[in-house]
């Protein structure tokens, strides 16, 4: 091929070096550099000003032993992940399967389901307050209860997860719907001719072919669960039962008590969890490509 052997002119080289150079500098300077710096800073007790002192694993020890919000944040993140993965995601898949057929009004159903995806999570948080508010909220009006859904620290995480799921279901549904549309119809026909009913066709024939989509949805779900921040922050700044790891990181740098080393340690824990899933995701994507 000519392009393999062709030498680039000086101008071509300049264009390439500038274009790719900017891309690499921005990516390393803003994303990977700071991410690695988090790892380094997590071993220090830096407060943002003054000398940086190395304290080793002290921050991690303090996190686990002397910082109660940490464990409730871990618990909430795990709950969040479980809720999205075991309830919201299967429901999104279920809706996608139902919508993957010629249906009148299909477009309306789809629009309704993924409308929340375009809403800012902050707006979702504010809407949640209308529904859950203890005094005039709709939920209490309809059920006749007087529960403080958002203020009671033993239940508020659940109702907030419902709000998060409201958004997640649509996202998952869109992805699965695209995946289902790509399934060869001949497969389904063959299964039908063999006498399989719809349930059997789905679980034995269609679902196994969706494996790549499943991996992607799983990773998106995990990443969303780790990133969850805006909704709880809009509701009560992530306190009183709504602690999340992402909120704790932010809390430790914004505000008066700037504990950069400590905040970084929490960030590194997030990093460690996400890296494994990111690797899974990428290996799936790149395997497909080959």
């Amino acid at each position: 091929m000519t392009s393999r052997t062709r030498r680039y002119s000086t101008r071509d080289m300049a264009v390439l070096v500038v274009g790719l150079g900017v891309a690499i500098v921005v990516n390393v300077g803003v994303i990977w550099g700071p991410a690695l710096a988090s790892v380094g800073l997590s071993g220090t007790d830096w407060s943002g000003i003054g000398p940086i002192e190395w304290v080793g694993a002290q921050n991690y020890h303090d996190l686990a032993a002397e910082y109660p919000p940490f464990w409730s944040a871990v618990r909430n993140n795990v709950l969040w992940l479980g809720f999205l993965a075991l309830i919201a995601t299967p429901f999104g898949l279920f809706c996608a399967v139902l919508l993957d057929r010629r249906l009148r009004m299909s477009r309306f159903y789809q629009s309704a389901l993924y409308m929340p995806v375009v809403l800012s999570l902050a707006v979702v948080g504010f809407i949640a307050q209308l529904v859950y508010s203890s005094d005039y909220g709709v939920l209490n009006s309809v059920t006749g209860l007087t529960v403080d859904w958002l203020g009671d620290s033993s239940i508020n995480i659940w109702v907030v997860m419902v709000a998060a799921a409201w958004r997640h279901v649509g996202y998952v549904m869109v992805i699965y719907l695209a995946g289902l549309k790509a399934v060869d119809p001949a497969l389904k026909e063959a299964a039908a001719i063999d006498g399989a009913d719809e349930r059997q066709t789905f679980f034995r024939v269609v679902f196994p072919t969706l494996r790549p989509v499943n991996v992607i949805v799983l990773v998106i779900t995990v990443i969303e669960a780790l990133r969850a921040f805006d909704i709880v922050y809009a509701i009560n700044r992530g306190r009183n039962g709504l602690e999340l790891l992402s909120v704790l990181v932010t809390e430790n740098i914004v505000g008066e008590a700037s504990r950069i080393g400590f905040g970084s340690a929490i960030a590194v824990i997030l990093l460690a969890i996400s890296v494994g899933f990111i690797a899974t995701y990428l290996s799936q994507m790149f395997r497909e490509e080959r």
């Binding site: 091929m1 392009s3 101008r11 071509d12 264009v15 274009g19 790719l20 891309a23 921005v26 990516n27 990977w32 700071p34 991410a35 710096a37 800073l41 139902l98 249906l103 009004m105 629009s111 309704a112 993924y114 375009v118 800012s120 902050a122 707006v123 504010f126 809407i127 949640a128 209308l130 709709v138 009006s141 409201w166 649509g170 869109v174 992805i175 695209a178 001719i193 063999d194 006498g195 998106i220 990443i223 780790l226 990133r227 921040f229 922050y233 992402s246 990181v249 932010t250 430790n252 740098i253 914004v254 970084s264 997030l270 990093l271 996400s274 899933f277 990111i278 690797a279 990428l282 994507m285």
Partner: protein, 304 residues
């Protein structure tokens, strides 16, 4: 299972009648989907309803009640009290350059990765794509520190540093969304026939010309899809502005919603009106560019 032909079945009655009948299962399906769809729209409908009613009325009767009085007063109040026009403008100052620069930088990088045989292109693609998947909190602490330390000339930022500047916010959006766009566009560009490039090479076209004049025009559908998606994401951002901005008057519109909250008392009807005003542009974009939006969402997950 095997096919068995019933011996008694008359040939005049095929198992699948060509005429469409109302099947009970189909009705059930519509009922179920209809209920789910309504349930999904309910919270938004509810906030529209709440935003139209005066506070003292809903305080007396609750949100779930018939209206005595409907008014657009809260929209007016949100518009003026929260100074929404100014915050919309802030958002545009951040989002428009953000989307354009992201698409430009990402499309060139994708072109270089997909079309030119540069060394290490695979590694580059992996590193870029992985960067987009990191939770922002992983890098936010050092980034915040870095931003406070990088000086900017006063004409570019009145804070004289990257921290608390529009440039800084645009930069972080570009850097964060870049990886996803490169990944999607590189996949797309691989599907463009190689012959176009070969012909251009014979004509002696340089790298820039092959990118700008030959490849980019063919990428319009993917640019439209990514543009729609990136607009929505950058518009909806809440975290970056919260951490990397300190002047209240420079915040984007999503963060300005907090201005509607009183210190001791919050009028939720006002907040509903404000939330809807903030959500309106994305809802409009979504309705108008429905196809592009869905295409954008699924681009990363299925082969482009």
């Amino acid at each position: 299972m095997t096919l068995t032909a019933p011996a008694t079945a008359p040939p005049a009655a095929p198992p699948a009648p060509p005429r469409r009948r109302v099947r009970p299962l189909r009705v059930l399906l519509h009922v179920f989907l209809g209920l789910v769809a309504l349930g999904w729209l309910l919270p938004l409908a509810l906030s529209v309803y709440a935003s139209l009613r005066p506070y003292d009325e809903t305080a007396r009767l609750g949100y779930f009640s018939l209206p005595e009085q409907l008014t657009f007063g809260y929209y007016e109040q949100a518009w003026t009290q929260a100074e929404l026009p100014r915050y919309y403008l802030n958002t545009l100052i951040i989002v428009i350059p953000g989307v354009l620069v992201t698409l430009l930088l990402a499309s060139f990088t994708a072109f270089a990765i997909a079309r030119l045989r540069i060394p290490g292109r695979r590694t580059l693609l992996i590193v870029f794509a992985a960067g987009n998947l990191l939770p922002p909190q992983v890098l936010i602490t050092p980034l915040y520190t870095l931003y406070t330390m990088v000086p900017l000339p006063a004409w570019l930022s009145d804070s004289q540093s990257l921290y608390d500047s529009y440039v800084g916010l645009i930069l972080v959006h570009v850097a964060f969304q870049f990886g996803f766009c490169v990944f999607v566009m590189a996949n797309f560009m691989r599907t463009i026939p190689e012959e176009i490039n070969e012909a251009a090479l014979v004509d002696g076209a340089g790298v820039w010309k092959r990118y700008w004049r030959l490849t980019l025009p063919l990428c319009r559908p993917v640019l439209a899809a990514l543009g729609t998606l990136q607009f929505t994401w950058m518009y909806n951002d809440f975290l970056w502005a919260l951490v990397l901005m300190s002047s209240g008057d420079k915040l984007p519109v999503t963060s300005a919603l907090n201005n509607l909250r009183g210190q001791f008392f919050t009028d939720y009807n006002l907040l509903a009106a404000g939330s809807l005003l903030v959500a309106l542009p994305t809802l409009i974009v979504f309705q108008l560019l429905h196809k592009q939006f869905v295409a954008g969402l699924t681009l990363g997950s299925t082969k482009g």
